[in-house]
């Protein structure tokens, strides 16, 4: 792909490069991911054909990987829209190269995560019963509602700030002009259009925050609304939200570091962005640890037999490996790496982020399975060993995530070009004014 009007090429050309230049590496990666996806699809077809018996779930461990991954993916999705909205709202100038990527994560991961409950259904053919005969009293229906709302809001929120950039691509010419023309919605960059756009973004970013928080709260309600020991806890709502943002930031950092490397965005994503974001990660890690501590302390202190049974199952029982692994990944590794300046390099942050993502996945796993595996009554406790099928679908989910990102990068710039420009032109002055206004003596 070559731009028709070379003269339009500006100093942010790097940001457009991925749209026009595609290396073999891209196709190879895409091919591999495509194969994984096909494999997952095949496995899913098998599951539909033969039933959920193909998974490792059993009695009483009736929920396994799908629900774990559901919570995990939805958690990751909090990276995006929420963070970008908070940063926008707080007028953090350093947000400019980050927001787009964050929002893309949300849109893609939410779609994947939202599909997981459907993967988990024994009768996907009867999915429409949810709409025809849905009971609003069921937390599962709250999920359906809030995830749909969040997905709508965050795609719109991704799309709106993209309009000026799409218009720019449209003007540069090249393939799929009709698509860009359609999507640019007649953007000409007039003052009125800009005003409307800004207004829309402002409304959305305020709206998105409560929706995002509600989504993860509601997901936690799926568990905490039951009477199961280990689940029935009021802390679950905020705990899940914190965990979600925590894992979201980590995922965002991973994505940023990866694309910075692949598409040479060093000029845009500077050390400072990682420093700021990693500080945020550190804070979330501490908050998360605090919540974890509170959650388990109340359990241990109260020592209600069933609750205690499950806690011990996690601390010293068969899940000890995962529990302490989670503490290592979510607390020790990020705190140690980010607290020390020497370790806080891009590589260090990358390691910490990966650790956090793994750790958060383990956290979901530890929440879902042990409570189910230890029912209140003396029925045989369950053993859950996921099968190839579940691993395949997990891999498929991850593959879709990466593929989604890769394909997105081939159509749209991963960093908001007009916002960078705006930063250059208005940003500096605005910040100056703002600082002025903070200082004593100013009116």
């Amino acid at each position: 792909m070559k731009p028709e009007n070379i003269e339009l090429a500006d100093k942010d050309e790097t940001l457009f490069r991925p749209i026009y230049h595609t290396g073999t590496g891209f196709y190879v990666t895409l091919g591999i991911l495509g194969l994984i996806l096909l494999w997952a699809l095949y496995m899913y077809v098998m599951q539909v054909r033969f039933g959920l018996g193909m998974t490792g779930m059993n009695q009483p461990v009736t929920w396994g990987f799908y629900i774990v991954n559901f919570v995990f993916f939805i958690g990751i999705s909090h990276a995006g829209t929420l963070i970008s909205a908070i940063l926008r709202l707080s007028k953090a100038e350093w947000r400019r190269p980050i927001t787009r990527m964050a929002e893309v994560i949300t849109a893609i991961v939410l779609a994947i995560g939202g599909l997981h409950p459907i993967l988990d259904l024994g009768r996907p053919d009867r999915m429409m019963n949810l709409l025809e005969a849905g009971r609003l009293q069921s937390p599962l229906l709250w999920d359906v509602t809030s995830i749909t709302a969040y997905f709508t809001a965050s795609t719109v929120y991704l799309y709106l700030p993209m309009i000026p950039d799409i218009a720019r691509i449209r003007d540069r010419g090249g393939k799929f002009k009709w698509l860009y023309a359609f999507m640019a919605w007649g953007w000409q960059g007039t003052e009125k259009q800009k005003r409307v756009l800004n207004r829309a973004i402002n409304i959305l970013m305020v709206m998105v925050i409560p929706i995002a928080i509600s989504v993860h709260t509601v997901i936690s309600y799926i568990f905490s609304m039951t009477l199961q020991p280990g689940w029935h806890s009021t802390i679950f709502g905020p705990y899940f939200v914190v965990g979600a943002i925590f894992s979201g930031i980590a995922a965002l950092l991973i994505v940023m570091i990866a694309f910075r490397k692949v598409y040479h965005f060093e000029n845009y994503l500077k050390e400072i962005h990682f420093q700021y974001l990693s500080t945020l990660l550190l804070i979330m890690s501490l908050i998360w640890s605090y919540f974890t501590f509170s959650e388990y302390l109340t359990g241990v202190f109260g020592a209600e037999p069933h609750e205690m049974h499950i806690i011990l199952y996690k601390f010293t029982g068969p899940f000890a490996f995962y529990f302490w692994g989670m503490i290592l990944c979510n607390f020790l590794v990020p705190v140690i790496i980010i607290s020390f300046k020497k370790l806080r390099t891009i590589t260090g942050i990358f390691i910490a982020s990966v650790a956090v993502v793994i750790g958060m996945w383990l956290e979901r796993f530890i929440i879902v399975v042990p409570s189910l595996a230890n029912p209140r009554l003396d029925v045989p406790i369950g053993i859950y060993v996921p099968t190839v099928l579940e691993w395949a679908l997990f891999a498929g989910g991850l593959a879709v995530f990466v593929m989604g990102f890769m394909i997105f990068s081939k159509f749209f710039p991963l960093i908001s070009v007009w916002e960078i420009e705006e930063g250059r032109t208005h940003g500096r002055k605005e910040v100056e004014n703002r600082i002025e206004s903070y200082l004593p003596g100013s009116s």
Binding site: W178, A181, F182, W185, G186
Partner: protein, 174 residues
């Protein structure tokens, strides 16, 4: 709304046509009944001329859940040996009688396995006329090939509601 490019327009058009075909096909496949009964049985003649009633052939209708499709035995109580009418259908019946094979009547009304429907409960206890659900069969000169009232949960529930009968799921689902 931005102006659509020709390609887009084509796609939209194709999509619409395809959709219509699919929906029509669904109805064609799933709702159209193409039953053929082995004998062109005439209810009217049997009821009016021979003076029979429903219970004579559907013998279990008052006492059991199933009304039962008549066995050959019931036909042979009148039709055996020589034809008693000049209907072209009667030889067919007599052939079944001679061979001793049950007539492969096609079942028209049936409820799924998870539904409990009792004729006795409706006819004997509830005093519902056969015609309420099956239509005016005594006027049928052809065998039944399609349902008079759709066998769907809505039909059941509407009637139950009208008559103040329970609509508790367990009353019919099992």
């Amino acid at each position: 709304m931005p102006k659509l490019r020709p390609t887009t327009r084509k796609l939209v058009l194709l999509g619409t046509i395809g959709g219509i075909i699919l929906i029509a096909g669904y109805f064609k496949v799933f709702l159209h009944s193409d039953l053929r009964q082995p004998i062109q049985y005439n209810h009217k003649i049997h009821i009016e001329s021979a003076g029979m009633t429903c219970v004579d052939c559907h013998e279990s209708v008052l006492v059991s859940a199933s009304a039962t499709i008549p066995r050959l035995e019931i036909c042979t109580s009148c039709h055996s040996g020589e034809p008693i009418s000049d209907s072209p259908e009667e030889p067919k019946l007599l052939k079944f009688v001679a061979d001793g094979n049950e007539i492969p009547w096609q079942r028209v009304y049936s409820v799924p396995d998870h539904v409990y429907f009792s004729h006795q409960r409706h006819v004997t206890d509830g005093r519902i006329e056969c015609a309420t659900c099956h239509g005016n069969i005594p006027d049928f000169t052809q065998p039944v090939t399609s349902t008079f009232m759709p066998v769907m949960m809505e039909s059941c529930m509407d009637c139950h509601r009208l008559n103040g009968v329970t609509n508790d799921c367990l009353a019919c689902h099992r």
